[in-house]
């Protein structure tokens, strides 16, 4: 971190804004060296009593300070935001399963439209199964699960969760009906009508969840609101195509593979654009556990993508590639979920971009 000249003129309690600008706006924000601040004890315990040991080494007592002590830029290193209270299993699980369900419905519809008859039933069943599991996860994640029907009291365009609840409800009905018809062979016309509804609603199920997580104060999510819907759409198509490659009978996986390839390519493109645009706020996606999850996911996506392109008539390669794509979609969602939580836990991701915004305001 560069040490700007002319700092000595400022007392430790004055010119904090200038210092914050130096710290956050222009120089070495990523460094984030946390010297033990004057008079303040070590970083306080976190919200649940867990000690938060953060930042660099503490200076030994009596050591000569060659530079002014770093100023407090947070309240004892505590988060400004409350990290999301959602459980990863339920909500990251839903981001994945909802995408899988919505895109499977799209695939089922397209398969039926274009005469890939043997892809239709497995895709419809995948859509219904995944959305059923999603519903269970979403209800389980509520603090008061018995009140889940309260979601249907209102329709609020200002709440992606409210809008999403209605999309979800309509979609799950249609997906369940179309799957039931496909499995039992009964009421094929009604089944086709329901499938048409699910095909149209499916893309919304895949992408509204991006608005859901981005319409929060969580820095890594909110700042990514431009790319996230495309990332989610791609990840969903890649998962649904992948699953269909696994379940497809011999010689029928072509459509699923092409859908998966388009999805995976879209996902990789959106993700790289997201990371490039976000700058410092992209760190949570690249560091720690979420960083590793996203890395593994990228390897799997790339491998699955290559496999899907090169599989040809090999069912083994197609199935392995499909499985890799399903797994990568799940890991990507988990990585995004955890990156958001990490960005909310560290005040630097809240203060830094806001300081930058203030500094750039005319």
């Amino acid at each position: 971190m560069s040490q700007p000249a002319g700092r000595t003129g400022n007392g430790p309690m004055t010119g904090l804004a200038a210092r914050a600008r130096e710290r956050w706006g222009v120089h070495g924000r990523g460094q984030h060296e946390r010297d033990k601040q004057a008079g303040a004890p070590a970083d306080g315990p976190g919200e649940n009593g867990a000690a938060q040991h953060r930042g660099g080494e503490r200076r030994r007592r009596g050591e000569q300070l060659m530079v002014p002590r770093a100023q407090p830029d947070s309240y004892y290193g505590r988060p400004i935001l409350k990290p999301p209270v959602w459980r990863a299993r339920d909500v990251a699980g839903y981001l994945f399963l909802g995408g899988l369900a919505g895109a499977s419905a799209v695939l089922a519809g397209v398969a039926q439209l274009t005469g890939h008859d043997r892809l239709v039933r497995p895709a419809r069943v995948s859509a219904a199964g995944a959305i059923g599991l999603s519903a269970a996860a979403l209800v389980a994640d509520l603090g008061r699960p018995e009140r889940f029907l309260n979601m249907l009291r209102v329709i609020k365009p200002s709440s992606p969760m409210s809008v999403g609840t209605w999309i979800f409800t309509a979609f799950s009905g249609a997906a369940a009906a179309s799957a039931a018809s496909a499995v039992t062979g009964r009421l094929p016309r009604l089944g086709t009508a329901a499938a048409a509804g699910a095909t149209v609603l499916g893309p919304a199920v895949c992408t509204y969840t991006a608005a859901l997580i981005c319409d929060t104060a969580v820095p890594a999510w909110h700042e990514a609101h431009r790319e996230m819907p495309y990332l989610f759409a791609g990840s969903a198509a890649s998962a649904a195509g992948g699953l269909s490659m696994v379940t497809a009978p011999a010689g029928q996986a072509g459509l699923a593979a092409r859908f998966a390839v388009l999805g995976a390519a879209g996902e990789l493109t959106a993700k790289s654009m997201l990371l490039r645009r976000l700058g410092e706020t992209a760190e949570p996606y690249q560091q720690g556990r979420p960083g590793r999850l996203m890395e593994i996911a990228e390897v799997l996506t790339t491998a699955g993508l290559a496999g899907a392109v090169l599989a040809g008539e090999s069912r083994v390669v197609a199935r392995l590639s499909g499985a890799a794509l399903v797994a990568s979609s799940a890991l990507t969602r988990l990585g995004i979920f955890e990156a958001g939580q990490n960005s909310a836990r560290d005040p630097k991701y809240t203060v830094g971009p806001q300081r930058e915004r203030l500094a750039n305001r005319p």
Binding site: G11, G44, L81, R147, G266, P347
Partner: protein, 300 residues
């Protein structure tokens, strides 16, 4: 004092009436918007507000911890902490540069000072928690405040992530979201909120928001003229990212020092843009499905 780039000048013009969230929420006739002006320059850190709030609102115990954060063993606002007093010790040690303002205002002769501040829900004009609540449990009252209806909340937790201040939280074991109600029950009975009633130094002032805003401007001018150059108002401006707070503050240092975001913006401001991207992405997904099929026909 030479450089204070982020400090806002105090506008000399007379205060204009602020936004009217109760009318925006559909109340035809309603009392004036009520709120808090928390003047941290006279806070003595007695925590009477924390205690009074807990007592009046029957807020359960929130952990008996020793946090090692000066006299603050509460930590921060949460589901069971609706007022929180922050303690910031800024101590000058040998070798430190002594601030220009040493000996004046809140500074001791050696330049040390001790900041205390009582934090609370901001009852934002543009309120993130209220916007995203999918059940309608969060509502705007006739006083322009934001309240959770505990008989409706199903604990989805969306409000927790939508608050740019980290105020509202889900209570463990209860499952619902809780926060300051600005003592909605007391307001209805013509009483002031418990914390303001208990505050012995009038650091917490309660009243019509327009009037409080005027009072706050006078106070910050007075402090700055007295040499307290770091004094600044926080969330008093209806043009800010939350449309101004129903509860706003006079701070002596930058907001982040108190654990407050320096430039909060309600997340829903970007929601129309998000919906556009969602719609475009959804269309793209459908088109991708069709494209995957079309290539089949074109190909071998």
């Amino acid at each position: 004092m030479t450089t204070q780039p982020a400090q806002r000048p105090v506008p000399p013009d007379a205060p204009r009436p602020g936004p009217d969230p109760a009318a925006d929420a559909g109340y035809a006739e309603h009392p004036p918007r009520m709120g808090f002006f928390t003047d941290t320059s006279v806070c003595i850190g007695c925590k009477a507000c924390e205690v009074a709030c807990k007592e009046w609102n029957h807020v359960p115990e929130d952990g008996l911890n020793l946090l090692g954060m000066s006299y603050d063993n509460t930590g921060g606002l949460g589901a069971s902490t609706w007022r929180h007093v922050a303690f910031i010790e800024q101590i000058t040690r040998p070798g430190d540069a002594v601030p220009d303002a040493a000996g004046s205002g809140a500074f001791a002769a050696d330049g040390s000072r001790w900041l205390m501040s009582s934090n609370v829900c901001k009852h934002c004009t543009e309120s993130g928690c209220l916007d995203v609540c999918p059940t309608g449990a969060l509502m705007r009252t006739e006083f322009g405040t934001v309240v959770v209806q505990e008989d409706i909340c199903n604990g989805c937790g969306y409000c927790v992530s939508a608050c740019p201040f980290g105020v509202i939280d889900r209570r463990e074991g209860d499952g619902r979201a809780w926060k300051c109600t600005l003592c909605y029950d007391r307001l209805g009975a013509g009483q002031e909120p418990a914390c303001a009633k208990a505050c012995p130094t009038e650091s917490i002032q309660f009243g019509p928001v327009d009037e409080l805003r005027e009072r706050a401007r006078l106070r910050v001018t007075e402090l700055q003229q007295a040499g307290e150059t770091g004094a600044q108002l926080y969330l008093d401006d209806p043009a800010d990212g939350i449309g101004g707070g129903g509860a706003f503050f006079l701070l002596l240092d930058e907001p982040e020092v108190y654990g407050l975001p320096p430039d909060p913006v309600v997340p829903t401001r970007d929601l129309p843009r998000m919906w556009r991207h969602v719609a475009l992405a959804a269309t793209g997904l459908l088109a991708g499905g069709l494209a995957a099929a079309l290539r089949r026909r074109v190909g071998p």
